[in-house]
Symmetry: D2
Subunit: 341 residues, 4 copies
């Protein structure tokens, strides 16, 4: 199958290019970037090397994109911009996996509240499928548009959603603390992201309403089957990649780690990219970098009646490009791990 990537100048786009070039079922036909058009791919994605051949970033018009033999497009554009490309491509019969926030929410007023401007195409929101393969039954029959989840939401929904669905944890007083590597903040030449500003430093940001909170709550509410509001505290730490989330939840009864683990093992039975750690072992981002895996652990705190859920993932793989490929694999009927192991 031939595929295109729209907007490949950022860290997510670069990861997508690397992954799709290695995917045995995909021929990467088109990689666009307004800023980098005319440059060979390997100049801004150096790990590719000259081995990526003569392929260049291009900047075609929408009609030229549509005219390509690509059946599927991955959009790695900023929110707001993605919709402009997604809709014409979909209308032309293409399949689209959008890695931006444009189609992740059901409710356009939530989009407006968290993203600060009206949604560009609210009528498309109900048509998209939310693309977390372990929690959603993905199929091109549902929709040709997959909204690939954000990096923070992935690290939170995987541990928390099934527990809410099974009533194993309470939906009130959920407190989520996440630590992200710097690539999560994007490739923007701002003072704040300079090496000397971020190295040897960590701290919270975006409190109390980081944009990803909208998506986290909307998804959690579906699994909890009631409106769910949570506390979400993102932090940056000095590392290139990785997110770890530590989630404190109240237990309806005496907290019991075994029943949590059991629920995870059943929910994710047969899923290659969720790994429940043994007792006394905690997820660390360094252990999942470069993989499409989410590692999980749970600890019961009998003194507070709470449970501590911990997860770690690579924000650019399971939190972005890898997850998009995984969703494609599932919908196309390829093995889920194709190009990802």
């Amino acid at each position: 199958m031939k595929a295109g990537i729209i907007g490949a100048s950022g860290y997510t786009g670069q990861e997508l290019v690397s992954l799709l070039l290695r995917h045995p079922e995909i021929e990467l036909e088109l990689v666009t970037s307004r800023a980098l058009a005319g440059q060979p791919l390997h100049r801004s994605i150096p790990r590719l090397g000259h081995g990526a051949g003569e392929m260049q970033f291009v900047n075609p018009s929408l009609s030229e994109m549509i005219a390509t033999p690509c059946e599927i497009f991955f959009l790695a554009l900023p929110h707001g911009a993605a919709a402009e490309f997604a809709i014409p491509l979909l209308e032309a019969g293409k399949r689209v996996i959008d890695l931006s926030a444009d189609f992740r929410l059901d409710d356009s007023s939530t989009y407006h509240e968290f993203y600060g401007s009206p949604h560009p195409a609210p009528e498309w929101l109900p048509k998209a499928q939310y693309g977390l393969p372990e929690l959603n039954d993905l199929s091109w029959n549902n929709s040709s548009l997959i909204a690939s989840p954000g990096c923070y939401p992935t690290s939170i929904l995987i541990p928390l959603a099934p527990l809410l669905a099974h009533g194993l944890v309470e939906s009130e007083d959920v407190v989520i603390h996440s630590i992200s590597g710097i690539s999560g903040a994007g490739k923007n030449a701002s003072d704040r992201l300079l090496f000397c500003e971020r190295n040897e430093s960590c701290g919270p940001y975006g409190l109390p309403k980081h944009r990803h909170l909208s998506e986290i709550e909307e998804q959690l509410s579906k699994f909890a089957k009631k409106p769910t509001v949570v506390s979400f505290h993102p932090h940056l730490a000095p590392m290139n990649r990785g997110i770890c989330s530590t989630i404190s939840v109240r237990s309806p009864g005496t907290p019991d780690a075994d029943s949590i683990r059991e629920c995870w093992l059943q929910t994710y039975s047969g899923r290659p990219f969720v790994q429940v750690l043994d007792d006394n072992s905690f997820p660390e981002t360094g252990k999942v970098i470069g993989t499409n895996r989410v590692d999980l652990s749970v600890v019961a705190d009998l003194r507070t009646g709470r449970l501590v859920l911990c997860s770690a993932e690579d924000n650019l793989v399971k939190g972005a490009g890898g997850q998009a490929l995984q969703a494609m694999n599932v919908c196309q009927g390829y093995a889920e791990t194709t190009g990802l192991s």
Copy 2:
């Protein structure tokens, strides 16, 4: 005043040496280390340079320590070991500031529970004063023994204790998430602390009952005037120094950041080492490294009815050596900032 440091081979001891050598009222007379005895100080504390002169680590007997003209001793020993030195020194009329956990708790059973062995000298626990200068009225009249607080507790008590004391936050469902630089784990040549194991990685550890939790809860309970149990989630991130704590608390009424800030400003009025940040600014460890300061901020989350308290400090300065000097300054009647600005 002449001073000695007992057990100066670790990161805390090294910081103490650096600080005391610059302190204008102190003459550093004695620096002990079993492992480094006979070596010049600057070999293992290179920033000192040859300018530290011929001073060497020594390994005297207790009676030799007592025979020195030192009036005050700083203990930078592991817990358990500190009591062995502190008590004879106190009995000989010396003043002692202990940076270990040996005298931080009132309750010897809590010590046993969290440290895994009976307290070596429980009769001394009620005699020590807990040495957080901003929250305790320190005086040599109270005791010649100061138990200098741990690094995590400092970053948590400074923001949280006065709010509990004034009833501005609830004492239940407190969830504390902390991120520490690697020096907080000490200078132990273990695989886990090797550069390649910790670099480019972060994650939780010590859940659910890190040893510092005992001290955090005992102190919070005093300020809340009722038994207070909290959730505490320590993490390591790849940086040498610094701790940031993000504390989620329930508000008794509508959460209001201004009243929190007001309480902090009043409590810490005139205190040089607590800084309340402006709106929309968050503490970062990189901004306090090398200082004895704790930076604070607060955000109200009307959606969850909770408040988010954030703090940052240098774990080796305000979280260890700097705080010990500050306590000494206060008790000796020196200006609080002497040797610390």
Copy 3:
């Protein structure tokens, strides 16, 4: 083909395990470690995940190793220890790729001089083939024993050897400066390799006779066709992986970058893992991490009559495990890039 790895507890061994598990022509049958025997592979090589299945580290006797169906063994043992395993395996008809220094030198007295003890089996030195695929014609017909080059030598021989062979640079007054990530120092729990000791610091070590210098000079002498003695200055910098070497050489005539580039392009024509960079672009380790590539550049300095040759590689891939696989690929007749792209 079935393969075994002997001594897989270090960083090189871990990389080999990861690479061989993904290699489509190889079935990894046996992974030994005295220290880790009985543990599942994924516990100490976390990126593997449970997906590595139930495979465990084992600690068989030599005769048990010989009795396995493995046709090829990779040795990731310390120097001195490797020979003890290599020779019996070879005598039993196995193929061996040794990643230690035990068979890299021709001259046992050089071994003694640089490694501080007599060579354990000098009669085997002439039997081994030095395994740098771009510079040596590798074949099982030559020998069943391949001595895989060290990380520093790879980064130096690739740029320098063909230029000496063609007389494009002088063999005197060669000054080589290399910077290595910390994994190059191995996984030893020593104070010197602790995170806080290496982070935010860089400097030289091992001057003036790092052990790899023996191998560098012996190889360069072959290409220069005369005894060649060089200055070699290794440094450590705070990063997990990567080596960059910057080599200053005298030009026999007016220094001319184009002729150097031309020589490289001809020598490495068709070789997938050597990349000559464009003008005005310099190798950086961050651009080759995770690849089996060496990036090269050259600058002429007309003022000094010297040329500056620069290279960068991943010390654990092209400098260790990747190179060993590449050598196997060549000897087995697999495509050179099999399992490495």
Copy 4:
């Protein structure tokens, strides 16, 4: 004495502010920045804290600067811009320590060659004194204008200049390899300096004619008493601060480390900021960070007939702000270490 800092928005300017605020003989009267005018100092120099009081960045006219009671001005401006301020201030009778490159060279054609534009005020070049206190006899009687040396030149001239002056090393075939922390590249929001671009990466840049080479060669030529041309290879490594330089030189006779050390010890006898390390110990940047010190070591390589000189310094202290203060201390007759220990 009252002092002003012109252009304090970069890393050098920030360091100067911190140092001058602590200097017991100086009252910092004025801190200018076009970009930050109106902001309190502590907002962009967070380590200062609110303790820096209400002092703000200002943006006065030149005549307003002249009208202040400041007797001395430190210029932390880009090259080219510094001269515009320095000359009117000098003509108004002020003392000026310029941290830019504008007055470091004697020869305006060298300036043009290396900085790409004609020198803005060549008639001032012979009037400035080059401000390396250990190698130049600094005095306000010589000039009211001190050109404070660059960070690379400091790390190179301290070890090399006295050896050339005494004929202990040859002036030909000098090869200098330096590694700098990222703050050396300045505080510019460019892609190249983003955290994710520089972290986990190192490599050379600016070959073969980095701008500092002009200053290095002009100074070395004076000490060697003949035109001296050297090879200079700067590199960036992922750390905030620090420069280490490793210098390979030919020995006129049999290389002898002791005679080099002896020359250093004599040249720098009584100088508090040069430290010659013991045998078998090498400078590391982590050991000098936060100090005004240069650490030195030497190794003789009998095989090549060369000597390896190694140095390490904090590029923002001894390589910039600290050195400027040291020069002021000397000229003012303050103890050399005032405000610097």
